[in-house]
Symmetry: C2
Subunit: 451 residues, 2 copies
């Protein structure tokens, strides 16, 4: 075992196949983890001659895959209330005739908190222990996040038109700054952030002010960029350069900037991002469903850019199942490159673990199972027919397992999901409230009552 124990630890998780996702992507068969005060204190390969460390809780993983909690690099948590409201539509019609009107009619502090709770429940049940969110009324998102027990970067949205909670656009950046002040250092699981919607919905002044504020407070700055080809064409017309070049000229790109989507980039854009050490949140399913395009992820990785994986919001995906997203990502880049070796399983797993943590600026504390890091731990079942046989755990995680195969989830040393049951939120009451809101949404949209 090789574990020198000098004090009683809180939890031991053992009898699992550990995918550490550490920099050497070490896999430990029949491994164990010791956890104390929310931190990982030891990892070992079990030697049956040696006893397990003494601990308050000895948890048998029953041969499951033990891995770091998944990191979802891009979400809009409150939008789960619009899941499946409208699909299969041209982007402009979808946004302007369905999503924007639905937001105008139904987004309130209450509905934001409700939608965020619903999303947090889904994320935790699917093994996501950290998400990076951007939306309006972020105080309500933050409250839902804290109640659910998930770890999150919560971004207050900034746009140059009236938005939920910010009626006067001239207050958009100061509102965001106030939000971040309220939440900074309030709860160790929550990092506030500023999320500028896009280069085409924020003026240069807004963008610069928002980024300056984010840098001043050492916060992650998030922005959608180059999601569609049309956006790039328009930016070149308006500013004479690509959106990435435009953001670069404004001084927005540094190592605390997370660029979301990044579908339509040329070689120069990719080099700029690499040089600035900015990161990318790749959202393949959303980009496919909206027919935006396929981001050149292999090129990002070649250039040394950190890439995390995000589901995007439920209005455009329509779920938050990051393991399923992983499968699609790995396959999508094979077909994009016409190369079956592209985005192999280990590389894909890294995108939702250590690389995802790097993209969010949290790699010092999460993203891998290593002593000293926070105990964000997921145990994936290996006992169902579709999970047999198991030859390579990383292949299983990418090509076979879904969120529904996650059995147990720990955040910061505390169990939040056990045996597939969420421990932190009152699910029946939550779902009843969602049903009630959904009935109103359906009615307003002339839909049959089938929620």
């Amino acid at each position: 075992m090789g574990v020198e124990q000098t004090y009683m630890i809180d939890s031991v998780i053992h009898n699992g196949l550990i995918v550490t996702a550490d920099p050497s992507f070490r896999i430990i068969e029949n491994g164990g983890i010791g956890i104390c005060d929310g931190k990982i204190v030891s990892l070992w390969k079990t030697d049956h001659e040696q006893p397990l460390p003494q601990a308050h809780e000895i948890f048998d993983a029953q041969g499951g895959i033990i891995m770091p909690g998944l990191i979802n690099a891009h979400t809009h948590l409150p939008m789960s209330i619009f899941r499946g409201l409208s699909d299969d539509l041209p982007l402009h019609e979808w946004l302007h005739e369905h999503i924007f009107p639905a937001e105008a009619a139904f987004i309130s502090p209450q509905s934001v908190e409700l939608g965020a709770r619903l999303s947090c429940a889904e994320l935790l049940l699917n093994g996501v222990t950290t998400c990076c969110d951007g939306y309006f009324l972020a105080d309500n998102v933050a409250q839902a996040v804290i109640d659910s027990g998930i770890r999150a970067v919560v971004g207050q949205g900034v746009v140059d038109f009236p938005a939920p909670g910010v009626a006067d656009p001239s207050q958009n950046v100061s509102s965001a700054v106030s939000f971040t002040r309220r939440w900074k250092n309030k709860n160790s699981l929550l990092q506030p952030s500023i999320f500028c919607h896009a280069p085409y919905t924020c003026s240069a002044e807004t963008l610069k002010a928002a980024k300056k504020a984010a840098d001043r407070h050492d916060l992650l700055f998030q922005i959608h960029v180059c999601e569609t080809r049309a956006e790039v064409i328009q930016c070149k017309k308006d500013h004479g350069c690509s959106p990435v070049q435009y953001l670069h000229q404004l001084g927005l790109l540094n190592c605390k900037t997370l660029l979301v989507h990044a579908v339509w980039l040329d070689e120069d854009d990719i080099q700029i991002i690499a040089d600035c050490a900015s990161s990318i949140a790749h959202c393949p399913e959303s980009n496919m469903k909206l027919a935006s395009g396929i981001a050149p992820v292999e090129d990002f990785l070649c250039a040394g850019i950190t890439v995390g994986l995000g589901t995007d919001g439920c209005a455009s995906n329509n779920d938050l199942d990051l393991l399923a997203e992983l499968d699609v990502a790995a396959k999508l880049h094979k077909i994009r490159q016409m190369d079956p070796t592209a985005l192999n399983a280990a590389t894909a797993v890294k995108m939702v673990t250590l690389e995802g943590a790097k993209a969010l600026g949290l790699a010092q504390s999460i993203g891998s199972l290593e002593p000293g890091k926070c105990a964000d731990v997921v145990i994936v079942d290996t006992l169902q027919p579709h999970l047999k046989p198991l030859f390579h755990p990383e292949s299983h995680l990418v090509y076979t397992a879904k969120g529904s195969d996650v059995r147990h989830v720990m955040v910061d040393g505390k169990w939040v999901v056990r045996d597939g049951k969420l421990l932190t939120l009152d699910l029946p009451s939550l779902l009843e409230n969602v049903n009630r809101l959904a009935e109103t949404i359906a009615e307003r949209n002339g839909l049959a009552k089938c929620c």
Copy 2:
């Protein structure tokens, strides 16, 4: 209710949202189904003033989506034993250095039956009530199929080299014919079929003899075709025409021919297939994972070709989750066409229901919930956080639900899955046998013992 009842029926399933998948794609809110002697005898919208029909069993679907059993148009059931054995490799290396050697070493009547049982368990648990299979030692596949209670078209493989169970290639067609004779009319759930592996692994004589035999016995004829660009190039070199034209010249294309993959087709090929009323089994995840390409499914549909959806075998996908495949298919064609309206949710659902049934020549008996058809019925959960809210059931089935959301499955009027538990096979013993075989496979492949 409007149900005139003249006799006691076997089962009533009620309190569900029925997606009939009938030709008009009728959806019945708060619907019910009456089942007698394995057949659907009635469908209705529940009127709470009226009592339910009298039945031996009254089954409450608890607001779930009630839909026809899913139809998986292409599988290689026994290959589940090689799930995840090798991924992320160039096609030639994957086939020749991993899959073919594994098959040579481990394919036997016992392993084929074991693998097929494992696959049938996975399929039924995921809501697939009919699959269309092609492999060798098809008698053993058939036995597993019958034991599991799934409905299946089982094809005996034909190639012009020694194959498992057919050491002498000159006996390939006669062996297949013997197989079909043994199983024809033996069990109403099983239709035997002949499966020629590909135009490049069977001679013209073999292909013609196999198709002639299939037609004589009114059987489905299956063949992989145009899976890779290289195959098309080689065929043009060898035969001076495309694989589809070649098969057409040999007289192989008629309404009982199912063309599998069909990735690299030109306009002429598509027109030939449409004119011959042959069908296509589309396998998007396998085609992505092996970087084969993206089949032009929208063009097939425009040409009026019947298209079913298949997972392919577990060596190249790596699961049999047809609802997850549906999601990928719908998104993949949006990105292929750069059009978010491509392959909408209803069209996608049809591919795994009525169109799938047509592709297999079974639309008179399965593929939709209509009086007179076999009672192959699936109930999909709608009570989990990721399934809330529900505005459009077809959107839910494609973009949100996974196989793991299937709660109850009935084949031919008999429950085979209840509350997510398989009723027909001894799962613990099956998985133990799979583990034992997997350990041998892992050992021979120099893998750590982690099955």
